[in-house]
């Protein structure tokens, strides 16, 4: 009896004594993925392959809501908590929490594939060469057009290179001829408006990371207000809502109540499943402004956070995901727009996508080379969200006659300055 007790005690003591050593060998990486599309499913699957190549490493992929990534994650990071890695969309805004993983990845390969988009993760620091993660996908703003309504109205669809005004005129004619409620609609989003603004010559942010409120922005706001006043665009989105609230009415396009809807590539799957062949639709090349034919890029990136205890493993895991075969598998299964240069150049096959969706994806991808430098700069700016919130808030006030365009321009500048000041004045 005594011997048994002694053995049990010794075994327990050994287990307790060795536990920290075992734990030290086992390294766990937690990755947060948003719950859109296939969520973290594909990364979990590829994570298993990484575990097989790296014994002792466990990759835990947690699927969280997009809201969690936008609202909770920044607070957790501020407190030095949260996952080791996450797929995020506020690329510039969270830049101060990133871990440089340059020593653990093939830096030359990363620069070759994502030269432009890696800069978005550097929070506007033009001198930095640090690699903070891997851009996963690219999203592109764009216009969906109801071709059936154009056909019924007998109005020719404007060709590539048509201006915003030509599109407005054509869609107005279609709406009148077919008794459709609205000619054009645009998500109530500063990001969507930035596409119009930059094509009208707005810079929004300069090379030094300072906000720019210029004549291009004024021209875009004036045009936008005019479209609301003459009924080309409904007041329901930008007019009816206040503050920085995001709102969309893509259902209007799905129900053929709008001739043109300016949204983004992320609604392609919805179009495919909900509209199918009910009417003929297409994504059209970016409407042109007086300055350029650009739309805003967007997208997600997988980044490592500085509080991680396993920076090396996290870096290697991202390097593993970035390999061409893994990247192709992810992009084609998710039916997303690739962000890697070689994928954009060579194209990606989407075996599960319909012909119409593949065509629309090709149109979105074709807009990438036409994107203005200002669009890329704005996308990577740390205070992009401050500018976008100011745009939505102030433009809605102009639409409701609370502010003049001049006053709105002043307020936009003040709002962004206040945000920069609140963050300690670092651009």
């Amino acid at each position: 009896m005594k011997r048994t007790t002694l053995r049990t005690t010794t075994a327990l003591a050994l287990v307790l004594a060795l536990a920290p050593i075992t734990a030290a060998h086992a390294q766990q990486i937690t990755l947060w993925a948003g719950d859109t599309g296939t969520g973290g499913e594909i990364f979990a699957e590829m994570g298993k392959a990484f575990e097989a190549e790296n014994p002792g490493v466990t990759v835990v992929v947690e699927e969280v809501s997009y809201q969690t990534l936008v609202e909770s994650l920044p607070v957790q990071l501020e407190a030095g908590e949260g996952p080791d890695i996450a797929i995020i969309t506020d690329l510039g805004g969270l830049s101060r929490f990133y871990q440089d993983i340059t020593p653990y990845v093939d830096a030359a390969y990363f620069e070759k594939e994502w030269g432009q988009t890696l800069q978005w993760l550097r929070g506007g620091d033009a001198t930095s060469t640090a690699i903070y993660g891997m851009p996963t996908t690219l999203t592109v703003n764009g216009a969906y057009v109801n071709l059936t309504l154009f056909e019924q109205a007998g109005v020719p669809v404007p060709a590539e290179g048509a201006t915003w005004q030509e599109w407005a005129e054509a869609t107005r004619q279609v709406a009148e001829a077919t008794n459709t409620e609205f000619a054009m609609e645009m998500d109530r989003s500063g990001h969507r408006f930035a596409s119009l603004a930059i094509s009208y010559g707005a810079q929004l942010v300069d090379e030094q990371g300072r906000p720019v409120v210029d004549d291009g922005l004024r021209a875009a706001i004036e045009q936008f207000v005019a479209w609301h006043q003459d009924g080309t665009m409904p007041m329901d989105l930008w007019g009816a809502v206040g503050g920085a609230t995001h709102r969309e009415l893509f259902s209007d396009f799905l129900n053929a109540n709008a001739v043109l809807y300016f949204g983004g590539s992320w609604t392609l799957a919805q179009m495919d499943s909900e509209v199918g062949d009910l009417f003929d639709w297409a994504v059209v090349p970016a409407p042109c402004g007086p300055s350029s034919c650009t739309v805003m890029p967007g997208g997600g990136a997988m980044t490592v956070f500085s509080h991680t205890q396993n920076a090396e493993i996290a870096g290697k895991l991202i390097n593993f995901f970035a390999q061409p075969e893994n990247l192709d598998h992810y992009i084609s299964t998710e039916v997303e727009i690739p962000s890697a240069a070689s994928q954009i150049a060579n194209g990606v096959e989407y075996p599960t996508a319909s012909a119409r969706t593949s065509e629309a994806l090709a149109t979105f991808i074709n807009q990438i080379p036409k994107m203005d430098a200002a669009a890329y700069r704005f996308q990577g700016w740390r205070y992009q969200r401050a500018m976008m919130n100011a745009l939505t808030t102030r433009i809605s006030q102009v639409l409701n006659s609370e502010l003049t365009v001049d006053a709105a321009m002043e307020r936009i500048e003040e709002d962004v300055d206040l945000a920069i000041q609140a963050a300690g004045g670092q651009s």
Partner: protein, 332 residues
């Protein structure tokens, strides 16, 4: 001893077990602190909770309102003194928000100052009317009490989404209007109609709660007073103004204070229904605080804390006035 007595005795033993378990410890504490200080010992758990969850956050809020940067932890935030207050109060003309440095704060304050009296008066008037109707001997009284109380149990977001569905351009209300051969109205795109519906929806959502309180107050009024008035041939209006209202005054004051506090705190319904729009027509103080402190990037905790202290101060003054009036009423 009967089984019932045995059962009662066992239940008593079980129920008194916690008291018997802590008795030695309490006796020890009593010996240590003395019997005079024992009330403080009993109050301690609640005091700790109040200090931790009510007083400490107020002090932290005061500190945040006097600090800058978008950092979360107080020790990372530089002290800026009254800069946030100065920024909020910087106006050329306080009656014209467009002359103010933080124009949206003043617009939200102005909207709140209109919204609160209108909503509270409508709320109390309708709740009182409903309570009086429900206090009468009508058929299906219990059913109607349930119906009026039902919206109170709904989540504010559900309330707002339901009304958005009713009021939107192609919503249920416009469907009915069209069916009646009238011209539909896009209710939420005009400042005046959006404001009207904001008041309506919040009254609809909360009046059931106040109706129940007022109903309890009405039922507490002795019947013989009404019978005496009836014998004196008093008119219904005279009965209402001379008996019902005076005797309901203490309950009305409670309802009034609760309604004002709830009205000033209005956020979720309107945030979902109108987002504060059109423009800033329905943006109230709490939405302004939320937008500045949480929706903005970078988050301006300092400015949001300063604005919330203004709101807290206004509520404190208002509650003080109410308490004074209430005390005056009791002395009468």
């Amino acid at each position: 001893m009967s089984a019932r007595v045995q059962l009662a005795s066992a239940a008593g033993a079980i129920l008194s077990l916690p008291a018997r378990l802590i008795e030695p410890a309490m006796s020890g504490i009593q010996r240590g602190v003395g019997i005079k200080r024992m009330p403080w010992v009993f109050l301690l758990p609640n005091l700790v909770a109040v200090i931790l969850f009510a007083l400490l956050p107020v002090f932290i809020n005061v500190f945040y309102s006097m600090s800058g940067s978008d950092r979360l932890f107080p020790w990372d935030r530089p002290f800026v003194g009254g800069a946030n207050y100065q920024s909020l109060l910087d106006c050329t003309n306080y009656l014209d928000p467009s002359t103010c440095s933080r124009d949206l704060f003043w617009r939200a304050l102005g909207n709140t100052m209109v919204f609160v009296p209108v909503q509270v008066i409508c709320m109390i008037a309708i709740a009182l009317l409903t309570a009086i109707c429900l206090n009468r001997d009508i058929v299906g009284r219990g059913f109607f009490r349930g119906i009026f109380f039902f919206p109170v149990m709904l989540s504010p977001v559900v309330v707002a989404l339901t009304w958005q569905w009713i009021l939107q351009r192609n919503g249920a209300l416009n469907g009915l209007i069209s069916a009646a051969g009238l011209t539909p109205v896009n209710w939420l795109i005009f400042p005046n109609t959006a404001f009207f519906w904001s008041v309506f929806v919040t009254v609809w959502a909360h009046m059931g709660f106040y109706t129940i309180i007022l109903l309890a107050g009405l039922q507490a009024i002795p019947r013989d007073v009404y019978e005496a008035a009836k014998m004196d041939s008093a008119s219904p209006w005279r009965v209402f103004t001379r008996i019902t209202l005076p005797l309901l005054k203490p309950v009305m004051l409670v309802v009034f204070i609760l309604a004002v506090i709830r009205s000033v705190q209005t956020f979720d319904e309107l945030y979902v229904l109108t987002g504060g729009g059109p423009g800033s027509a329905t943006m109230l103080m709490v939405q302004y605080i939320y937008e500045v402190g949480f929706a903005a990037q970078p988050r301006n905790f300092g400015l949001a804390a300063a604005a919330s202290l203004f709101l807290g101060l206004a509520l404190l003054i208002f509650t003080g006035i109410q308490m004074r009036i209430s005390r005056g009423g009791n002395n009468d």
